[in-house]
Amino acid sequence: MKRVLLALDGALVLGLGLYMLILCQTEAYAAFMNPRFRPLTAAAAVGFCLAGAAFLLRPDGRSDGLRTLCFAILAVMAAHAGSGSLKGAAGFAAKPPAEIRTDPDPYLVRNGDSYLKSNPARLFLSLQTGQAAPPDQRYVTRGIIKRSAQLDRIGKFALLRGNMVCCLADAIAMGMMVSTEGFPVLRDGDWLVVFGRVQLLPEAFPITDLGGTGEVPFSMVFDKAFLVAEAIEKMERPRFPYVFELPPSARRPIRLTGGEDDY
């Protein structure tokens, strides 16, 4: 029994390495981790493969049923976690897009007006850190709708995007309040493209009754401004529902998903 458990332990460590090695070469990686950590995961995967193989050949220490069970549960979880809604199961088959470091076009033109591309999390961070564009700047942004009683009372909804720093565990759905005046009632969970301008509020208006978005359990909206929508268009869920923004990214965004997360 001891030998069987030790062999299983070795196989599970080896399996973890192989899983990490495959995952970091696919598009699905971006549903678990910030793509900038691909090299770290790949290096660790090689380490796990070597350590697992070594453990299989020359097992060290005692067997422990609980630890074998824990890693077996992890294997079941990994199988159940899937590819995280990135093109369904195809996310595991798709190769990740190349990282783009130069901006092909930060603006999108609509009806002759130029809109700066900015995903909701980037807009949140640029306003919070005082790096936002001048007040007359028009923005185009894409996100998922979240409504709440507090927002309904002031005629607004939240437009959010799950923002990952390291991994999905630290992701927060970040975004802006959007005024709904003149637009039809929108449903929770719909994806939208919003064209509009930022308007500052005279004082902070914290929204404390937001839940999760279904993709990220925790949400946060910028409380000192809102987006005055000029146009709203429904859209399909984007190829990459998550974005990977850090505070300085308003100045120099790193396009880890080939520019898909720009707005």
Partner: protein, 301 residues
């Protein structure tokens, strides 16, 4: 419900993916220390005085930065090899934060607010030193009896080396020993990741947000969140900076406690140390961080 369970699975797997490389690194370093480093000689050179030993622990954190998952197996091995408990425990708790990478990331996350960096470093260094002093005293008295699971790892590796020849199996044994250490600690990582993911998905966040909006409760609420969410010390500053509704002292509480006490670390402490020490490692940093952040709140708001 099915969507929630899938999200929970994905969050749990992502925590393991994030932490496992550092835990493996810590496990391999631990195995290397066990086999090849003459730590007894190093231990003899560590100063005898209280301040000297604390300084060694804190400087160790700066010179050998490793995140919280990796620091536990390494500290356990350093203790086994004769490093004074005060230095080893101080190192274990401080290393994930008192290092250039994490301090710079805190500085960036708070847009160049040096005060946040200083408060975080102070809260962690103070808590680590106090916990090191309290735990170190107990460990020093009953050192051999208080380190479970060490002898089998130690002797097993030694048996391999003598039986198979040092050079022939050296790398294989090192890797196998590292894997064994990883498996021992990793089970708590998996359990902690599962618990954290369940909390994250099923916790009523509106309730938490409402509580966090209360200035007097916000420090305690964010400290509780730090324990439940298991965010890595490399990333937690960016998460804390996103909590725009809470006072800065509560953000410091989140960043300081999360690197020393969270669900996955609790399991590792109970695995690596005697129960009394594990409890001290949980309670002392919690009380200390709470006290210091209350002081920060009084001084800077």
């Amino acid at each position: 419900m099915l969507q929630d369970i899938q999200l929970m699975a994905r969050i749990a797997v992502s925590i393991v993916l994030e932490a496992a490389p550092f835990l493996l690194l810590g496990s391999l370093l631990s195995a290397a220390v066990d086999r090849y480093m003459d730590t007894e000689r190093i231990a003899r050179r560590i100063p005898q005085g209280l301040l000297g030993r604390i300084t060694v622990g804190l400087l160790g954190g700066m010179l050998l930065p490793i995140c919280e998952c990796g620091s536990v197996p390494l500290a356990r091995r350093l203790l086994d090899k004769g490093v004074p408990p005060l230095s080893a425990i101080t190192y274990m708790l401080a290393a994930p934060v008192i290092n250039p990478v994490v301090l710079v990331s805190t500085y960036v996350a708070f847009s160049g607010n040096f005060q946040m960096v200083a408060m975080r470093a102070l809260a962690v260094a103070g808590s680590a030193a106090l916990a090191g002093w309290l735990c170190g005293g107990r460990l020093w008295v009953d050192r051999q009896a208080s380190l479970p699971d060490m002898t089998h790892l130690h002797s097993h590796g030694a048996q391999h080396m003598s039986a198979g020849g040092r050079n022939r199996w050296m790398v294989l044994d090192l890797l196998s020993s590292g894997a064994s250490e990883f498996l021992d600690m990793g089970k708590y990582l998996v359990l902690g990741a599962l618990a954290s993911a369940a909390f994250k998905v099923f916790l009523p966040w509106q309730f938490v947000q409402a509580l966090a909006g209360n200035a007097s409760l916000s420090i305690a609420v964010l400290m509780l969140l730090a324990v439940l969410l298991c965010v890595c010390s490399e990333a937690d500053a960016f998460v804390a900076a996103s909590f725009v509704y809470v006072p800065s002292a509560a953000q410091v509480g989140f960043m300081a406690l999360g690197a020393m006490v969270d669900l996955k670390l609790m399991g590792m402490y109970f695995s690596a140390f005697p129960k009394k020490i594990a409890w001290l490692l949980i309670i002392v940093p919690t009380v200390c961080v709470f006290g210091l952040t209350q002081l920060f709140a009084f001084l800077v708001g």
